[in-house]
Subunit: 307 residues, 4 copies
C-alpha cells in the first residue's frame, strides 16, 4: 500500500517496523494529551522508515484547536519543553516561517512568525542585566518561490550568513496521512524540513546540511491529500474483500495509481473551518516558541512586550 | 450508489433519467465553453431528479478561474445573459451574499457582493434621464447564523418587506460531486437556494416561498465533500470487481456508509490555491451580475462608478 | 471658537458650562483610570451643550490600547458595569456594529461584533436551566450605505421589528476634538447614535426615536479631523497674540473657515499604528459587552463557547 | 519656517532655490497630468535642497487613485517610461517592498510586490527564445525591523550578494508636506531611499552606497504628519498677521516647536478611504513596473502569466 503521503514521522511507525534496531519510541499520556518521542539512530532504520536520523517529538490532543485556558497553558508548556530540548542552550535564534500567507492551509508559518517576540534589534539598547536574560531572536516569513523568485532555503542561507544564529527554527504546515491528525498533532524535530515536504512542497530543504546550523522544525498537519483519502477508502475495501489475492494485484495497483495520480491532482482535504483553526494553532505554537526562547519572561509580560 | 452530495442540477442528470418526461436539456458549445439549459417542468421529474421545478443554466469552462481578458469578456456576457433571462424586466433588485466571509471556501457570496454596483441610495439624487437608465440595486452579505444569531433567510425576508424588490439574487458557494467542477462550473437558476445546500448548509432556504418574490440563485462549486471522494473511489473499485453482485450488496453498502458518515466528518476537498480562485470567480460573477442589472452602462464605466 | 467636531459629550463640558442647571458631572479616579458620569437632564442644558438628554459614561486610560493582563480585567469590568447600568434587566439584545470594515479607522463596530458571543439561535436547543442563565443576543455589522444601498438605521429598524429585542447596543468609531483621546477614551451612553456622528458620518441616527427601543451606544474615538487639528493650532496662536481683539475678529474667523472647509477636506488624523490599536480596543469592548450581557458566565468559559 | 517633513524632492524646490546652479527642473503637461523631471548635479545644490544628487521624476494627477481605464493606461505608460529611463538596460532586477503590511498607510511597498511578475525562478525552464525576452525579476517584502529584528537594508544587502541583480527597485510609502499630494504624486528617483524617510522611518537607507548596485526608488505620499498640518495652519496665520516681525520671532518659533514636537507626536493625516486608495495606487505602480521590466510582453499577457 505505497503512495500515501505524510510529513509525520509517527505515521511511518507501524507494528512491523517499530521493533527495527535503531528506532526508539517512548509514549506517555498526560490526561488526554499524548506525548511521543521517536528517536531514529541508525541509517538502516532511517531508510526503512523513510525518515532522517534524529529526534521527533509529537504532542497530540484531539481538541487541540479548541483548547480552553487551562489546556492551552499545558500545551504551550509541552511545546516549549520540546523546542527547548532540541535547541542549543545559548546563542541567537532565527525563526523562518515557511509557506504562502495567501493560501489558508499553507499560512501557518507566516501566522506563527507574526506572533513572535522579536528581540535582536532591541538588545543593543538594553541594560546589561536584561540583555543577559533575553535571547536574541529574529524572524522572517519571506513568502514562497512563486511570489519571490527566490527559494526560501536560499534566502535563509543568506540570512544565516549575516545574522549568524546558533540555530534556525523553521515552521511549516504539514500534510498527514490520516485526516484526524489535521490541527491536532504537533511535530517538533531536529531534522529540519525536507525537500518536497509541507503543504507548499518546498524544492529545497532547510536542514543542517543546507544552512550550516542546527534546524529545529515545528509543524502541524493542515491537509491530507485528496488522493490519500481516496486510496485509503479503496484500501479499506480491498482489505475487506481480499482483492490483493494473486491475480488481482496488478489491476488493483493500477486502479490505485489512477486515482491518486489522476483526477484528484493537487486537491487537498481540510476541515471547513480551517481559516479559524490555523489562527488557533498559530497562537499555541507562537506562545510555546516564545516561552522556549525566553524562559526568563512569563507569558503575560511577553504579550505586553509584543504590543 | 446513493449518498453523494451535490448542489448542481446537471450532476443529477444521468443517462437513465435524461429522457424522463418533464425534463429538457439543451447543450451547446461556444468554443471551449459549454452552455447547458435544463428545464424541469413536472413534479414527477422534479422528484426523480431530487431538484425543484424551474430552470437551471450552467456555464462550464475548465480554465474558468484562470481566464484571459478575451475569455473573461465572453464568460461575463454569458453570465449576464443567463441572469437577465431569469430576472423580471423591471423593478429594484436585492442581492444577498450567503456564506461566511471568514471561511475561504464559503466566502464567494460575500466577495461578489463587495464588487457590486449598488445604486438604490443614489437614485433619489439623480436626474430623471439617468434614473430611468439605472436599475435600483441594494446588496448585503449579512454573515452566517453562528455569527449573527439570525438566519439569512429571516433577515432577507425582513429586507424584502422593507426594500420591496422585484426579485432577489442570492449568491452562494456550492458543493459538487465531481472535483473537476470546483471553480469551473457556474449555475444560475430561478429556483432559489434550498435548505441544507451550499458549503455552509443553510437551515432555511431562500426561495419564492420563503421570501415572497422570485429568487435567482447564482452559485459555483467550491468544495466536494471528502466523503464523496472516498465513496467515489470505492465505487470505482466496486464497479471494476463487480462487488455489487448478490450477496455482497449489504456489506458493501455498510462499508460505504461507514466511510461517508464516519471518520471524514465535515472535511472538504478543495484546490490548494482556493483563496485565489474564489477571488477570480467572484470577479467574473460580479461583472456578469453588474452587466445584467445595468445593461445601459458599459463595464468600464461601471468600474469607474464603483470607486 | 466654533467649528470643532467631537462625538464625545465630555469634550462639550467646559469650565463655563459645567455649572449650567440640568448638568451633573461625577468623576472618580481608579488608579490611573478616570471614570466620568455625565447626566444631562434639561432641554436647555441639552441645547447649551449640543448633546441629547441622557447619561454619558466615559472610561479614560492613556495606555488603553496597550493594556497588560491585569489592567485589561479592570477595564473590561468597568465597561461591563457601565453597559449593564444602562441596559434593561431582561430581554433579548440586538447588537449593531456600524461603520465600514474596509476602512481601518471606521471598522471598530465590525471588529467588536465579530468577537461577540451570539446566543439567540442556540437557546431553543438548550436545557431550561441554562436558557434562563443565558441572555439572547443577536449581532450584525451590515456595512455602510455606499456598499449596501440601505441605511444602517433602516436595516436596524427592520431587524428590531423581527427580532424584537428589549434594547439595541450600537457600536461605532467616533471622532474627537483632542488627538490624545484617540483609542484612550470609551464613551457609553443611553442616547443612541446621532445623525452625522461617527467616522463614517451616518445620515440617519440610531436612537429610541428611530428604532422604537432603547439604544445604548458604545464608541471610542479613532480619528480627529485634520481641520480640527489645524483650527486648534491656529487657536493657540490666536490666544497667544490676542488676535480676536476688535477689528481682527472677522478676518481671523474667515481664515479659520478657510482652513477647515478648504484644503483639508475629509482628511483625518490617526496614530500610525491605528490598524493594531483598533483590534486591541475591539478586544476590550467585546469582552466588556459579553460580560455585561452574560454576567452568569465567566470570561474564560465565554471564550471557549466562542470557538 | 523650518521643520516641515517631506520625502518629495519637488516640495523642496521653491521660487528662491529653483535657480541655484546645479538644479534643473523640466515640467510638461500631458492633458491633466503633470510630468516633472528634476536633476540635481552639484553638491552645493544638493545641500541647499537637502536632497541627494540625482534624478527625480514626478507624475502628478489630482484624481490619480480614481483613474478610469484610459487614464490608467497613460499613467502606467508614464511610470514605465520613468522607471526604464533610470534602470540599467540589462541584467536581473531585485524589487524590495518596504514598510509594514499591517499598517495601512505603510503597506504600499508590500502591496506592489504582491502584484509583480516574478520570473527569476522560471527562466531556467524556458526555451532560449523566450528567456532572452524575459528579464529576471525577484521580489521581496520582508517586513519592518520591529517584526523581523533585521533592518530591511541589511536583508537587502544579503540578497543582493546572493541574487546579484543589476539594480534594485525599492518601493515605499512617503510622507509629504502638502496634504493634496497624498495618493496623487508618484516620485521615481535613482537616488534610492534615505535613512529616516518613508512612513515607517527607516533607520538605514537603501542606496547605491549601502547595497553596492544602483537603487531606483518608487514612492507615493500616503500621509502628512499631523504636526506638519498644524505648523502649516499656524504659518498661514503668521503670514497673514506678519507675526515674524522683530520681537515676535522667538516666541512664534517656540510655539511652532511646541505644536510639532509636542502633543501631536507621531500622528499622521490620511484620507478616510486610505485603505482603498493604497490598493488602487499599488495597481498603477505594479502595472508600470511590470511594463518597465518586461517591455516585450503586453499587459494582458502579463496578467495571464500572473495567475
Amino acid at each position: 500500500m505505497r503512495g500515501f503521503r505524510t510529513d509525520l514521522a509517527m505515521e511511518c511507525i507501524t507494528e512491523e517496523n517499530v521493533h527495527i534496531e535503531g528506532v526508539q519510541v517512548n509514549t506517555h499520556q498526560i490526561g488526554d494529551i499524548k506525548h511521543t518521542r521517536i528517536r531514529i539512530d541508525s541509517e538502516s532504520a532511517a531508510e526503512a522508515l523513510k525518515r532522517k536520523c534524529g529526534q521527533y517529538i509529537t504532542v497530540e490532543y484531539p481538541d487541540l484547536p479548541r483548547y480552553d485556558t487551562e489546556k492551552k497553558k499545558l500545551l504551550v508548556k509541552l511545546i516549549a519543553q520540546a523546542v527547548r530540548t532540541l535547541l542549543p542552550e545559548e546563542g541567537d535564534i532565527l525563526v523562518v516561517g515557511l509557506g504562502n500567507r495567501n493560501v489558508t492551509a499553507d499560512a501557518l508559518g507566516t501566522r506563527v512568525v507574526e506572533r513572535l517576540l522579536v528581540t535582536r534589534h532591541l538588545r543593543q539598547a538594553m541594560a546589561d542585566e536584561l540583555r543577559t536574560k533575553l535571547r536574541g531572536v529574529s524572524a522572517i516569513a519571506p513568502g514562497v518561490l512563486g511570489l519571490t523568485g527566490i527559494e526560501t532555503a536560499e534566502l535563509a542561507r543568506g540570512l544565516v550568513a549575516h545574522v549568524k544564529p546558533a540555530a534556525v527554527i523553521a515552521i511549516d504546515a504539514l500534510a498527514a496521512f490520516e485526516s484526524e491528525r489535521i490541527c491536532t498533532t504537533i511535530q517538533i524535530t531536529d531534522t529540519g524540513i525536507e525537500p518536497g515536504s509541507g503543504v507548499g512542497n518546498h524544492r529545497l530543504g532547510l536542514t543542517a546540511e543546507t544552512l550550516g546550523v542546527r534546524v529545529i522544525a515545528v509543524g502541524v498537519p493542515m491537509v491530507v491529500y485528496a488522493s490519500t483519502i481516496a486510496r485509503d477508502a479503496m484500501a479499506r475495501l480491498i482489505n475487506e474483500y481480499g482483492l490483493f489475492e494473486p491475480g488481482h494485484e496488478e489491476a488493483t495497483e493500477q486502479l490505485l495509481r489512477q486515482v491518486s495520480e489522476g483526477f484528484l491532482g493537487d486537491m487537498v482535504v481540510t476541515p471547513r473551518e480551517i481559516d479559524e483553526l490555523v489562527l488557533n494553532v498559530a497562537d499555541l505554537l507562537s506562545d510555546g516558541i516564545n516561552q522556549a526562547l525566553q524562559p526568563a519572561i512569563d507569558t503575560d509580560t511577553l504579550h505586553t512586550y509584543m504590543h
